[in-house]
């Protein structure tokens, strides 16, 4: 081989090495934190939580990383499982938002910390309704409401029960839209409210571990009938937007009159002027639309496990839980008794008696699949 050829191949190999992923190790005292939430949550952590936590715990630092979406978190969870098996450093300590059951086998592999047994001083304050697993920590919540255009619908006429809502949708064809249930929680929880409606308004009937094929087919089948019944009266004779934001866009462009929305998202949209200040908000009184809690997970084999537990405890402190209310427009993850009295008084009107929730796990897959099969295609939109 000539020298030049050799030099070129050597240079190529060197370039290849330089481009290969560089090894990095978690720094001591730096909590590697990942989120799958939207930018408003990352902003909240960057501007509020990080300075407060670092001031309260000298020597500890937060490294805030956006994992993109749920699949991103799951991929890092899988990396942590692999790291556990080889006793390597997973380079992850804390998931801001995760499902303790995903990736499958993470709990069994000992990668997720049992939060209940971890001895957090504030754990007893957590709202018992919000706890789904001992391995995840619900620290903030949010609720789905109906938002409407008050220039087209007077607040006094706004529907306050499911039946009134259905009557209104049918009387005002094309004026209501909800997004595909897997593409955003506002449409997702509207669909779950229909499931509650079809099954005796009893949120307790659905548990994370009671899904069976027969029960699922029967319970969901009734809900698909309800939803297919209103489908021809929805926007564009049964079109479904592809996310929370797209629904908000249709409302703000005056295309529809009413949509289901996340409480924190709609409050922010009104504040930023995306929606007019006179946008009306209403909650169904017979049974509220479902809400959801965001649950954090602590990685058991993370390099900064102790510090991460400190962070988890810190998130349940009164200071942080109040900030979730005032800065984020969310609901606290602790019971309302553990929020300062002033705030409790201030938010008295929107404090829900209960936030109905719907379990994830197999129910989620069944709902996502069933809705697309039975509700979405039912309508011939060309007519």
């Amino acid at each position: 081989m000539k020298r030049r050829t050799f030099m070129m191949s050597a240079a190529g190999a060197a370039a290849g090495l330089a481009l290969a992923p560089r090894m990095s190790f978690a720094a001591k005292g730096q909590i590697d934190w990942y989120t799958s939430s939207d930018t408003n949550i990352l902003d909240f952590w960057t501007n509020i939580v990080k300075p407060a936590f670092e001031a309260a715990n000298p020597g500890l630092k937060l490294n805030l990383v956006d994992a993109g979406d749920g699949a991103g978190i799951i991929a890092i969870g899988e990396r942590a499982i692999a790291a556990k098996q080889t006793n390597a450093d997973p380079q992850a300590d804390y998931f801001e938002s995760a499902d303790a059951l995903l990736p499958a086998g993470a709990i069994k592999a000992g990668v997720y910390t049992n939060i209940k047994a971890a001895g957090l001083s504030n754990y007893s304050k957590v709202n018992p309704l919000a706890i789904e697993s001992e391995y995840s920590l619900p620290y903030r919540g949010s609720q789905v409401l109906l938002a409407y255009d008050t220039t087209k619908l007077k607040p006094a006429d706004a529907p306050k029960t499911w039946d009134a809502l259905v009557t209104w949708i049918k009387a005002n064809p094309g004026q209501f839209v909800y997004n595909r249930p897997d593409k955003g929680g506002s449409g997702g929880n509207f669909v779950r409210r229909a499931i509650h409606q079809a099954n005796g308004l009893d949120p307790k009937a659905f548990k994370v571990d009671n899904y069976t094929q027969e029960f699922g087919d029967e319970a969901l089948g009734k809900a698909w009938k309800l939803l297919a019944d209103i489908a021809p009266h929805l926007y564009d004779k049964g079109a479904y937007s592809s996310g929370n934001t797209q629904s908000l866009q249709l409302l703000s462009q005056g295309v529809v009159t009413m949509i289901p929305v996340w409480s924190d998202q709609v409050l922010q949209a009104i504040e930023q002027g995306v929606l007019p200040a006179e946008t009306g908000l209403v909650q169904l009184q017979d049974l509220a639309l479902c809400g959801g809690f965001t649950r954090s997970v602590v990685i058991e084999n993370g390099a900064n496990h102790e510090a991460s537990l400190k962070l988890a405890d810190f998130m349940l402190s009164e200071e942080m839980q109040s900030a979730i209310l005032t800065e984020l427009g969310g609901f606290p993850g602790v019971s309302w008794d553990h929020v300062s009295a002033d705030l409790r008084k201030k938010f008295a009107d929107i404090i829900p008696q209960s936030i109905p929730t719907f379990p994830g796990g197999k129910w989620e897959a069944a709902i996502n699949d069933g809705w697309y099969r039975h509700v979405a295609p039912n309508v011939d939109r060309k007519s």
Partner: protein, 294 residues
């Protein structure tokens, strides 16, 4: 003199050998990447969908996921809408891009340069930005509606959230590639042959049909198979602009994997998509091989 010849010969054999090793080295990287990122996952997906592990741990040959796909109305509807979108886009691309390419080939001056720049522009617009721009312009109460309303005309039937939404976006997105390939094909049409045909009295249509088309049929095939491959497996535009159902295979696969949590189902859909893409790919390979054979 003889020494000089000898040296020249040895240099030329050395550079030939050197070139060969550099050539192989240059080819090795893409070949390795293709094997690693495309061929291996494809083999993996095929084997995992036909050689399945049961609940009790025993693995066996099993085609049930394919049987389900091809007997499931919903999956077949999605496949049908994907093929329909691909076909409609291919026809529209040809109808739109061929005149642009012909114009650019046979005219001179400033204006064609601007037209070419405009035709290439979509290449530099990310599809997610294109999708939201489409929503703002063609969506309900969008710019087109506002303009129509200003002159007292009724609103358009918006393509947003219908199967035509992705068609409009995908056609716009694929114009640059198609125009460029057709343009390079038109480069092989000699001016003399066109002039000769004109001299014996051929009109424009005859020149196009008998002189130009036979020379660029290969380019048309290449352009269409390129854009068809991209359209068939597209994700962003059908996801953001298309209806909830029927959905194209791209969003369908992603949803089956993530939201329905059914990796085997998603892989089966992927293998079916491979199958169709291989068919389109064969057209391309055949036309390239035929070209080389000439």
């Amino acid at each position: 003199m003889s020494e000089f010849v000898e040296r020249a010969v040895s240099v030329s054999t050395e550079t030939a050998a050197g070139r060969r090793s550099i050539g192989l080295l240059l080819v090795a990287i893409p070949v390795f990447l293709v094997i690693w990122l495309v061929i291996w996952p494809a083999i993996n997906a095929i084997s995992r969908t036909i050689w399945r592990t049961d609940a009790d741990g025993s693995s066996s040959f099993d085609l049930s996921s394919y049987a389900f796909f091809f007997s499931d109305r919903y999956s077949l509807d999605n496949l049908a809408v994907t093929l329909w979108t691909t076909l409609v886009c291919a026809v529209l691309l040809l109808v739109i891009c061929l005149p642009i390419a012909l114009y650019l080939r046979f005219s001179h001056g400033r204006l064609p340069a601007y037209v070419q720049a405009l035709a290439i522009l979509p290449m530099f617009v990310p599809s997610i930005i294109l999708a939201f721009a489409c929503i703002r312009v063609l969506g309900p109460n969008g710019m087109v509606d506002i303009l129509l309303n200003a002159v007292g005309l009724p609103k358009i039937r918006t393509p947003y959230l219908t199967p035509w939404g992705p068609v409009i976006g995908l056609v716009w997105d694929n114009i640059p590639l198609t125009v460029l390939i057709l343009l390079s094909g038109l480069g092989s049409v000699a001016n003399q042959s066109i002039e000769a045909a004109r001299d014996v009295g051929a009109n424009t249509i005859r020149v196009f049909w008998h002189i130009i088309l036979p020379r660029i049929s290969n380019s048309i095939l290449v352009a269409l198979s390129f854009s068809v491959l991209g359209i068939f497996s597209s994700f962003t535009l059908p996801y953001l602009l298309g209806p909830a159902s029927p959905e194209m295979l791209g969003p369908f696969m992603q949803r089956t994997l993530r939201d329905v949590q059914d990796p085997i189902g998603a892989m089966t859909q992927a293998v079916v998509a491979f199958g169709f893409c291989i068919l389109f790919g064969l057209f391309y390979v055949r036309s390239v091989a035929r070209n080389r054979g000439k």
